[in-house]
C-alpha cells in the first residue's frame, strides 16, 4: 500500500488530493480546492495540505511521496515535482480512461497534450504568452461585467449572436468588450463571443499535437465552464477535428491526481530499483 499526495499550485487555485494505491487499485481519499485570492500560494498550499492530512487523521510522515505540480516546485516539504504536461496527462486518463488527449485550460495558460494509454506524454503544445485565451482574462471580463464566475457558463450558452473578440491580445480583447458594452450588446452574447474566440485558439492548438486516438479531456479550472466546453465542441466541428472533447466533474483536480499517481508510480519504481532513499 502506497500513500501519496498530489499538490497542484496554480495561479488561480491550489488543488490537493491524497491517494492510496496498491498495484493497479487506487483509492482516492480526499480532495480539496482553494482559491488563491491574493494570498501567498505556498502558504495556502501548506495549510491546505495539513488540513487534508488532519481530516484523514494522518501525519506528513504517513505518506510515501508528496508530489507537486504547477508552480509547486518551491514547496519545502515535497518529495518530487512533476511538470504539468506529465500530471495532466495521467490525471486525464484516471478521470476518463478513454482520454488520449488532455486540454488543460487554467488561469494563465492553455496546454494541449497527447499521451498513450500509460499516460506517457507523446507531444504537447502551449498557448503563447498572451493572456487572452486564459481563465484570468475571462475572470477579469466577468468582473467588469458584474457577473459571478459560476454564472458565466450558463449565461454564455444563452447567447444567440456572439460578438467576435480578439483572440490574439488581451488588451485588444478588453477594448473589444468595452466597445460592445457601449453598443449595448448583451452580456450573454459578449461571453459567448469570448468563449468562441478562446475555443478557436484552443482547437487550433489541439490540431498541432498530432492525431489523438481517443477522447480529449478538458482539465484545469476552465474545464468546468460549460460555456467554454460547448464552444470547444463547436470549434472542433468547425475545424473538422473528429476527436470528441468533454469534461469531467473532477477535471479541476487532474493535475493534482496525476502528481499523486505519478508519485506512487515513482515510489514503487524506486523500491524496485532499490533506490528508495532517493525519495526520502
Amino acid at each position: 500500500m502506497t500513500r501519496t499526495a498530489g499538490i497542484d499550485v496554480g495561479t488561480g487555485a491550489v488543488k490537493t488530493v491524497i491517494f492510496e494505491t496498491d498495484g493497479a487499485a487506487t483509492n482516492w481519499l480526499i480532495k480539496r480546492v482553494d482559491r488563491v485570492r491574493q494570498r501567498d500560494p505556498y502558504q495556502l498550499a501548506t495549510e491546505t495540505y495539513h488540513t487534508a492530512l488532519e481530516e484523514l487523521g494522518m501525519r506528513h510522515g504517513d505518506l510515501d511521496y508528496v508530489a507537486t505540480t504547477g508552480e509547486g516546485e518551491s514547496l519545502s516539504f515535497h518529495t518530487g515535482h512533476f511538470y504539468s504536461m506529465t500530471t495532466h496527462a495521467r490525471g486525464a486518463i484516471y478521470l476518463d480512461p478513454e482520454a488520449r488527449g488532455a486540454l488543460d485550460v487554467g488561469a494563465l495558460h492553455g496546454r494541449a497534450i497527447r499521451m498513450d494509454g500509460r499516460g506517457k506524454v507523446l507531444s504537447y503544445k502551449m498557448t503563447s504568452q498572451c493572456a487572452s485565451g486564459s481563465g484570468q482574462f475571462l475572470e477579469n471580463i466577468s468582473r467588469y461585467l458584474g457577473i459571478a464566475q459560476d454564472e458565466i457558463g450558463a449565461l454564455s450558452k444563452q447567447g444567440t449572436s456572439p460578438e467576435k473578440v480578439s483572440g490574439i491580445c488581451a488588451v485588444l480583447a478588453e477594448t473589444d468588450v468595452i466597445n460592445m458594452v457601449s453598443r449595448g450588446i448583451s452580456a450573454a452574447n459578449i461571453l459567448r463571443g469570448i468563449h468562441s474566440s478562446m475555443a478557436d485558439r484552443l482547437a487550433k492548438l489541439i490540431k498541432t499535437i498530432g492525431s489523438v486516438d481517443g477522447v480529449v479531456l478538458m482539465t484545469g479550472g476552465l474545464a468546468h465552464d460549460e460555456g467554454l466546453v460547448a464552444a470547444m465542441q463547436e470549434a472542433m466541428r468547425q475545424e473538422k477535428v473528429q476527436w470528441p472533447v468533454r469534461n469531467h466533474p473532477d477535471s479541476i483536480y487532474a493535475g493534482a491526481i496525476g502528481a499523486a499517481l505519478w508519485g506512487a508510480f515513482r515510489h514503487e519504481k524506486l523500491a524496485r530499483e532499490e533506490a528508495l532513499e532517493q525519495a526520502a
Partner: protein, 396 residues
C-alpha cells in the same frame, strides 16, 4: 575558564560573499588587491584555459573575465560585432570601453574560437597600453610536436609576464605556484565529488558561485573558501528531493545566467557535473613539482587535461567518450546540452556528442542561451519534462 571560540562560517555567509564578487562588475577585490602592494599586476584572461601558475609566479593576480553577464547593459559593444556573433565579446568590449578593466595590466585570449582570436587583435588596437596576447594551445598532442610548440608558447608568456611585473619568473616561483594551484584543483575536485554524492547539499547555483569566486580571488583565499564551504555544506541540513541527476555541458565559454542554473535545478534536475569553469579543474590530477616546471605544465596540458569541444580530439573513436565517462562517474541519468547562441565550438560539436550519447542509450536534451537571457519559462518546461521522462520512463 573560558573555552576557545571557533568561528563557524555558514553556507549562507560563504555564498553571500561569492554573490557579491559575482555581482561586482568593477572588480573591486582585484583593484584593492593590486593597490595593496606596489608592483603587483593583474592579468585578465578569458575562457577556457590559461596557465594561471605563470601569472601567480610573476606576482600577479589572474582575473577571469567571463563577459558582463545579465547585469551589464551592452551599448557600445554591440557596434563592434555582427548580430550573428555571441554575446561574450560584446560585453567584454563593453567592460573595456567603460573603464571597468582599466586596472588590468595584461589580457590573455586563449585559443577557443575565431571570435576570441579577433577580440585579442581588437584589444591591442583599442587598449594599446595593455599587454594583450592571443594564447595559443597545441592541437597536436605528441610531445615532440605539440609539446615543443607549447613549451615555446609558455616560455613567451613567461617572458611577457616578467616584463609586465618587472621581476624574473623563476623556476622556484613557478613550482611554488603549481603547488598552490594543485591544492586548489584538488579542492575543486572535492567540491564536485561532494556534489555528485550529495547534490541536495550543494545546490548547483552555490557551486557555480563558489567556482566563479575562483576567477577573482587570490588562489590561497579561494582554497580557504573551498575548504570552508565543504565543511559548512556537509553540516547543513537540507531536504533531499526525488530529482533526476544530469550533466550540463557546452557552457564552457559565455556563461549562462545564474537564473538558468537555478531553473534547471528547480525544474527537478540535480546537476552532478558541468563544464562552466573548466580553468578551475583543467589539469585532472596534480602537475608534477619535479624538474622543469614549464615542461611539467606542457605535459599536463597534453596528457592530463580536461576534454571539451574547444580542445581538438585527434582520434575520432575517442570523440565524446569523456561525456559518457562523466555520466558514469557521477551516476548521471541524462545530459543537458546548454550552449550560448552562435557558439561555434559548442554547437558544431554537439551533434557528434549527441550521437555518442545515443549510442550509449544516454538521454539528452539541448537548448541555447545568451548570458543575458531573461525568460526562463521555456527552459523550465524543457528541463522539467526531461526530468519527468527520466524519472518515469528510464530504465536503470
Amino acid at each position: 575558564m573560558s573555552t576557545p571560540v571557533t568561528e563557524i562560517i555558514t553556507v549562507t555567509e560563504i555564498i553571500a560573499r561569492c554573490q557579491a564578487l559575482f555581482d561586482d562588475l568593477n572588480f573591486t577585490y582585484a583593484r584593492e588587491w593590486k593597490a595593496a602592494v606596489p608592483g603587483r599586476i593583474v592579468v585578465g584572461y578569458m575562457p577556457f584555459y590559461v596557465p594561471r601558475e605563470l601569472i601567480h609566479a610573476a606576482g600577479g593576480l589572474p582575473l577571469g573575465v567571463l563577459g558582463g553577464g545579465e547585469q551589464l547593459e551592452v551599448i557600445q559593444g554591440d557596434a563592434y560585432y555582427q548580430s550573428y556573433i555571441c554575446r561574450i565579446p560584446r560585453s567584454t568590449i563593453e567592460l573595456g570601453v567603460t573603464n571597468r578593466l582599466d586596472f588590468v595590466d595584461a589580457m590573455l585570449f586563449p585559443s577557443i574560437c575565431d571570435v576570441i582570436r579577433n577580440l585579442s587583435g581588437m584589444w591591442k588596437i583599442m587598449f594599446p597600453k595593455v599587454r594583450s596576447r592571443y594564447f595559443d594551445v597545441p592541437q597536436n598532442f605528441s610531445d615532440g610536436v605539440g609539446g615543443t610548440f607549447y613549451i615555446h608558447e609558455l616560455t613567451e608568456l613567461r617572458e611577457m609576464l616578467a616584463e609586465a611585473s618587472g621581476r624574473a619568473v623563476t623556476d622556484a616561483a613557478i613550482r611554488a605556484s603549481i603547488a598552490l594551484y594543485n591544492e586548489n584543483r584538488a579542492l575543486v575536485r572535492e567540491v564536485y565529488a561532494f556534489r555528485a554524492r550529495q547534490p541536495w547539499k550543494a545546490p548547483s547555483a552555490e557551486v557555480y558561485l563558489l567556482m566563479r569566486a575562483g576567477m577573482v580571488l587570490a588562489v590561497e583565499e579561494h582554497s580557504r573558501m573551498l575548504r570552508e564551504y565543504l565543511d559548512a555544506a556537509a553540516a547543513a541540513d537540507r531536504p533531499r528531493r526525488d530529482n533526476s541527476r544530469v550533466v550540463v555541458t557546452g557552457a564552457f565559454c559565455e556563461q549562462p545566467p545564474l537564473n538558468l542554473i537555478k531553473s534547471i535545478e528547480l525544474s527537478g534536475c540535480y546537476i552532478v557535473d558541468d563544464d562552466f569553469m573548466l580553468v578551475n579543474r583543467w589539469e585532472q590530477s596534480d602537475v608534477s613539482l619535479d624538474g622543469d616546471p614549464v615542461a611539467n605544465l606542457a605535459q599536463a596540458y597534453l596528457h592530463n587535461s580536461a576534454n571539451t569541444s574547444a580542445k581538438y580530439e585527434p582520434d575520432p573513436a575517442q570523440k565524446g567518450l569523456y561525456l559518457v565517462a562523466a555520466v558514469k562517474r557521477t551516476r548521471a541519468e541524462g545530459v543537458i546540452f546548454a550552449s550560448p547562441s552562435f557558439c561555434d565550438p559548442a554547437l558544431l560539436e554537439r551533434p557528434m556528442l549527441q550521437r555518442v550519447l545515443a549510442a550509449h542509450d544516454i538521454p539528452f536534451i539541448a537548448f541555447k542561451y545568451a548570458e543575458n537571457s531573461g525568460q526562463m519559462q521555456p527552459i523550465r518546461e524543457q528541463a522539467g519534462t526531461f526530468a519527468d521522462s527520466i524519472k518515469l520512463w528510464s530504465t536503470p
